[in-house]
């Protein structure tokens, strides 16, 4: 058998109780919010204060280090000047050509019967050479030794004979040629 519960409380009282319950819950909830807000406020304030304190400490540290650097500025500027000069020097040295190597190589490659009358560098890595020689055979030997990897070939990549003619008066052969220097061979 089902028992029916009979509630004799009036409807208004029931509504009032319900409202009070809701108010109590809301009151508790708002107090919880207040506590949470208090904790968040405390936390954020602490974080901000700590950040500001560490910022102040860093500012002081920066000033202290800058002061120390200022005292040693002379050493730093000397070192910086030296470094700048050394880097510039190394740049200059890397592009420096040793023309004594050119003279030595031509000298080593030239047979005794060859007389160079003029030698001029021109353009990029080119040398014009003209002179006289006793015979075509000696001229051929000169060109060969200019290209010999053990003699002139160390610095020359090519030798173009641009002219060779017999001088009837002296009986010698006048020649002119263009020598091409290998890249960076005079460094």
């Amino acid at each position: 058998m089902v028992r029916k519960e009979i509630n004799l409380l009036p409807v208004e009282l029931k509504e009032k109780k319900k409202t009070e319950k809701v108010k109590t819950s809301l009151g508790n909830l708002s107090l919880v919010f207040l506590v949470i807000a208090g904790l968040v406020a405390f936390g954020s304030s602490t974080v901000l204060i700590n950040l500001k304190l560490s910022g102040d400490k860093q500012t002081k540290d920066i000033l202290r280090v800058q002061e120390k650097i200022k005292d040693l500025a002379v050493v730093e500027s000397e070192a910086s000047r030296l470094e700048s000069k050394i880097l510039s020097i190394s740049k200059i040295v890397s592009t420096k050509n040793k023309y004594s190597v050119l003279l030595s190589s031509v000298s080593k490659a030239a047979p005794s019967e060859v007389t160079i009358t003029s030698m001029t560098t021109f353009g990029e890595n080119k040398v014009s050479v003209s002179g006289t020689v006793q015979s075509y055979l000696v001229l051929s030997k000169f060109v060969t030794s200019l290209m010999d990897p053990g003699i002139g070939g160390k610095i020359f990549s090519n030798a173009d004979l641009t002219g060779a003619s017999l001088d009837d008066v002296s009986g010698k052969i006048r020649f002119s040629m263009v020598l091409y220097l290998k890249k960076d061979s005079l460094k």
Binding site: I86, S88, K91, T121
Partner: protein, 229 residues
């Protein structure tokens, strides 16, 4: 009117907890949480910037401290570097040096023309361009070129032209020369300031080997009432 006040009072008394809770929360949010929370990112990023700056200047100080320990070596290297790459064109000394090299090589310096100063492409140094006409024999010129390559004030040979027909029994040489200097107009090259790096030590070793040509000291009295006489 009084009825409204009574009603308000009643409402306040009935909802004290809610009002305190919500009101307090709102006040905390408005007065503390919002201002602090909005300030934190800015202070944090400022601190990070400062930390980076501090780290950088600490590194700089550390480097300077290592430089202090080798201060003497730096000073002597500066003297050497100044000799190789002076801080002004110093043409009179340059002329003296070329003359000294020519004399010691057995070459006769016929003329020395200055054809201007030019800046390097990256602007870290300047060039003094010259053209020298000299007389001598082959071995003299070979020696001259070798000496120019190893002189303490850097002099670079840019072009060479030799002619044996103009000088009977010898050679006439026309040599394009370039010397270098840095001045206030040139911008310095900066690096890591590591004086133990191979690039720097090899260049320092190189400049230590260069031969100084001391200019001749001539005791000539100066001052002439009519220099055209």
């Amino acid at each position: 009117m009084s009825l409204t006040i009574v009603k308000y009072k009643e409402f306040i008394l009935e909802n004290t907890k809610i009002l305190i809770g919500m009101g307090g929360t709102l006040l905390l949010v408005l007065i503390i949480i919002y201002p602090t929370a909005s300030a934190i990112p800015a202070v944090y990023s400022k601190n990070r910037e400062q930390a980076t700056e501090l780290e950088s200047i600490n590194g700089r100080l550390k480097k300077i401290n290592t430089l202090v320990s080798s201060q003497q070596a730096i000073k002597s290297s500066v003297i050497l570097a100044d000799r190789v790459l002076p801080s002004k064109d110093d043409i009179p000394n340059l002329m003296n040096q070329i003359q000294a090299i020519a004399t010691s090589s057995g070459v006769s310096l016929k003329s020395l023309q200055f054809s201007g100063v030019s800046k390097s492409d990256e602007g870290s140094f300047k060039r003094v361009n010259m053209q020298a006409i000299m007389d001598g024999n082959f071995s003299n010129f070979l020696s001259m070129l070798s000496n120019l390559e190893s002189t303490s004030r850097m002099i670079d040979v840019s072009t060479v032209a030799f002619d044996s027909q103009k000088n009977i029994g010898g050679l006439t040489g026309s040599i394009g020369l370039t010397s270098y200097f840095v001045d206030s107009d040139t911008k310095g090259v900066s690096g890591s300031m590591d004086f133990t790096s191979a690039a720097i030590t090899s260049t320092l070793d190189y400049i230590k080997k260069l031969k100084p040509y001391e200019p001749q000291q001539i005791n000539v009295t100066v001052g002439k009432s009519n220099p055209f006489e």
